[in-house]
C-alpha cells in the first residue's frame, strides 16, 4: 500500500499551513508502515479541526459527536476486537468534554490508539479555552484571561495507568509517523498526544521556539514520572520531551473477556460469531 491510496477526493478545509496537514501525512505513513491492510482500520473522530481527518483518510470510520471519539472507538473494539482502531480527537473533546472516557479507557486497555490533536484551544469555534489552555489565555470567551491552571494530560495518563504514553510535535512528520506506528503495534491502549500549534488562535501557546528533545522509548515508571512533569502546559520554561514517555504491556480488553478472546482467536467480529462459538 502507498500513502496515496489513503487519500480521498474531499476538499480539505484546514487553514493554509495548518499542522493538521502534517499529522495527516504522518498518519498515512504510519498506516502504510504498520503492515496492516487498509480494511483492518477503523478511525473514529469527534468534532473539532483535527477530527476533519475523517473526511481526508480513506479508511473505514465513524464521525461521532464532540467528546465521544473514545467511547465510539471502544465500541468498535467491542463489536469486532480484530479491527485496528484509531480514535482521533482534540484537546477539547478528550480533556474537556470527554475526560471521563479517557480515564476509563486506561482501565479497559482495549488494543486501540488515541491520537489527540492538541492545539490548546477550541479553534473551530474561534478560540475559546480548553483544559490545556495556559493560565491567563485571553479569548473572546475569556477576555479576563483563563483563571485556572491547565491539565497535564500525560501526567493524568500515567496516573490512570495508560500503558503507552507518547508526545509528538506535529511539525516533525517523520518522528510523529514513527511514534504512531509504534502506537499501532503496541498491544493495548496507546495514547499519542500531538502538539499541533494553531496558526490562528492561542499563538502564545506555540512551542515553535521552545526547546524540545527526543527521548528513547522509556519503560521505567520512575523516569516516566519525571518526564511527564517536565512540561506542565503552563510555564514557558523548561524543555519538552518528545517520544514514548512510558510503555508497559498489560492484559488487554480482549484478554479479560472470554467472549472477545474467542472472536480474536477466530479473527471474526460478532457478525460472524457462529465461527467463533460453534
Amino acid at each position: 500500500m502507498k500513502t496515496q491510496e489513503l487519500a480521498t477526493k474531499n476538499q480539505i478545509t484546514w487553514c493554509a499551513g495548518c499542522l493538521n496537514f502534517m499529522i495527516l501525512e504522518s498518519v498515512k505513513r504510519a498506516i502504510v508502515n504498520s503492515g496492516f491492510k487498509r480494511e483492518d482500520f477503523v478511525m473514529t473522530a469527534d468534532i473539532g479541526c483535527g477530527s476533519k481527518i475523517y473526511d481526508y483518510l480513506n479508511i473505514s470510520g465513524i464521525y461521532g459527536l464532540h467528546g465521544r471519539s473514545l467511547p465510539i472507538g471502544l465500541g468498535v473494539k467491542l463489536g469486532n476486537p480484530n479491527l485496528k482502531v484509531l480514535s482521533f480527537a482534540g484537546d477539547g473533546g478528550v480533556y474537556s468534554e470527554g475526560i471521563s472516557h479517557f480515564i476509563h479507557a486506561a482501565r479497559y486497555n482495549a488494543d486501540m490508539v488515541l491520537i489527540v490533536h492538541d492545539n490548546r484551544n477550541f479553534s473551530l469555534t474561534t478560540g475559546q479555552p480548553t483544559a490545556t489552555s495556559q493560565q491567563g489565555y485571553k479569548s473572546k470567551a475569556s477576555p479576563l484571561g483563563v483563571a485556572d491552571p491547565p491539565l497535564n494530560p500525560l501526567k493524568l495518563a500515567l496516573a490512570c495507568g495508560v500503558g503507552f504514553i507518547a508526545r509528538c510535535d506535529a511539525r516533525d512528520i517523520n518522528h510523529t509517523a514513527e511514534i504512531l506506528e509504534k502506537a499501532i503495534k503496541h498491544r493495548g491502549f496507546s495514547f499519542v498526544e500531538i502538539i499541533q500549534d494553531c496558526r490562528v488562535f492561542n499563538l502564545e501557546a506555540s512551542i515553535k521556539d521552545r526547546a524540545t528533545y527526543k527521548i528513547k522509548d522509556n519503560k521505567d515508571k520512575k523516569i516516566a514520572e519525571k518526564l511527564v512533569n517536565e512540561f506542565d502546559y503552563n510555564s514557558k520554561k523548561g524543555k519538552i520531551p518528545l517520544g514514548v514517555l512510558y510503555k508497559e504491556e498489560k492484559p488487554i480488553l480482549a484478554d479479560k473477556w472470554p467472549q472477545l478472546k474467542k472472536l480474536m482467536e477466530k479473527k471474526v467480529g460478532w457478525a460472524e460469531k457462529n465461527l467463533a462459538f460453534s
Binding site: I62, G79, W270
Partner: protein
Amino acid sequence: MRLNILIGGKAGQGINKISQIVSNILARYGYFTFNYRDYQSLIRGGHNFNILSVSDNRIGSVESKLDIIVALDDNTIEIHKNKLKENGIIIKSKEFENFGKNLNVAFSGALIKTLGISKKILIEEIENQFNDKEANEAAEKGFESAEKKFELKKLNNKISVMSGSEAIANGAINSNIDLYLAYPMTPATNVMHELAAKQLENNLMVFQPENEIAVANMALGASFAGAKVMVGTSGGGFDLMSEALSFQGMSEIPLVVYLASRPGPGTGIPTYTSQSDLNIALRSGHGEFPRIVIAPGNPIECIEKTNEAFYLSQKFNVLSIILSDKHLAESEFSFDKKPAKPIKVKLNRKIPGKDIVKASSYEHGKFGNTTESAEIAKQNAEERLKKYELIKKECEKFEMIKIYGNPKAKNLIIGWGSTKGVILDAIDSIDESIKTKKGNYKFLQVLYMKPLSNQIKKEIQKSENVILVENNLTGQLGRLIREKTGFKIKNKILKYDGRMFYSDELKEKILEVAK
C-alpha cells in the same frame, strides 16, 4: 376465585423468596398468580411488601383488599391491617423467631398450609430450591404451626411465571443479541442482571461502561462494527443517552434501547412505577429523524416485541425503543400461553473489516463524506422521512394495537404498557366483557406508540364513550392520540403517586365515567 396475600417485612428478611416459593407451588398447582413488589430505595430495614394475587383464571393485577397478611414484623400489621377483609387472616412472626435465615421458609410453609395445599408439595419445592435439611425442617414446622383456611384444589392449567425484565432478556436472546450495554439504574437493571447471568451460555456479552453517555456511544460503535446491540436504562440515564440517539438518526447505525421508566422528574421515586416517559421516548434527541417506540404490556409481549424491535432496527438501520416501567419490569406475571416463534434478525448493511464503510454525525453524501450542500441536506432530510413511511408499512405486519372485549361495546377504554393487566381484570370484574366478548366494555391496547396505528382513530369514532387509563399526570398517550387524530379524550383515569392501579380501585373509577 381470587385471593390477595400481602407479605411484608424489612428489606433483607426474604419477602421475595416467600413470594417465589409460594408462586412456584401455585403454578405447579395450576393457579394463576400476579406478584407486585413494593420496595424502598434501601438495602436493609425499612418496610417492603409484596402482594401476591392468586386466581383460577388469568389475572394481571392485584386488589387492594387483602385476604391474608404474612407479617415478618409488627410494622407490617400496623401499616396494612386496615386493608384486611373482615374474615382475613394474619400470619405473624412471633412463632418463627428461632428460624434465623430460614424465617422466610417457615413463613412459606405456614402460608401453604393456610391455602390448603399438601405438605408433600411444599417439601418438594423446598428441596428443589435449597436442598438443605434445615430448610426442610423450617418449612415443615411452619406448615404445622398454621391452620388450613382455604381449600385450593389442583387445576389442570400449565402455568409459567416470569417478570417483564426476564422476558425482555429472553426477547433479546431470541433475537440473537451480541452485546448488552448498560449503566445500572432501577428499574432497568434486572435486564442487565438476567443477560449477564446468561451471557456465556448464550454467546453474548454484557458490558458496563463508565456512564450512559459512554453506553450509547459505545453501542453505536459496536453496532457499526457488526454487533447486534441493545442498551438499557431508565429516564435519567435515557436523558444522558439522548445525544447519541440523535447521532443515531444521522448515522443510521441500528440501535435498540430498552427504557424502563419510574416516577420523575429528577431522581423522583426510584423504586416505584410511572408511565411518564412516553414523551421522551417519542421525542428525545435533537433534529428530525425516524424511530420506533414499542410498549409491551406483559411478559409474552415483552418477548415478542423486543424481537420485533431488533428486527425493525436492523432492517431499517433505525432506532427502536422498547418502553417499559417498574411495574412491568419487576412484577411477576403468570401465563398459560407461549410466545410466537421469533423472527430472524439479519444485518442489512456493510460492516468494516471487509469493506470501507463510513458513518457520520454530520450531514453527509453517499460515501459518508461531510457536506453542507443545501441540495443534499434537503434530499437527505426527505429520505429520512421517506424511510419512516417504509417503516410504518413494515410495522403493519405486526400487532400495533390489540382489542379485547365486546367489539360493539359502548365504552372504549384505551391504555398501554403495564396497565394492560389491571384494565382487563377491572373490566372483567364489572361484567366479564373480556371473557364473554359481550357486555359494555372493550379495551384498546396500544403497543406501537410510534408509528401509531391508523386503527385507533376508527375505534374511537365507533365508540360512544372513550376512557383513557394511564399511570401518569398528563395522559401522554391521550395527547399523542389527540395530536394524531384530533380527538380529545375527556374521560381520563390517571394515577401518578408512583403506585400502580389496584383492579378494584380501577373498577370503581371506570364505573364513575362509564355509560
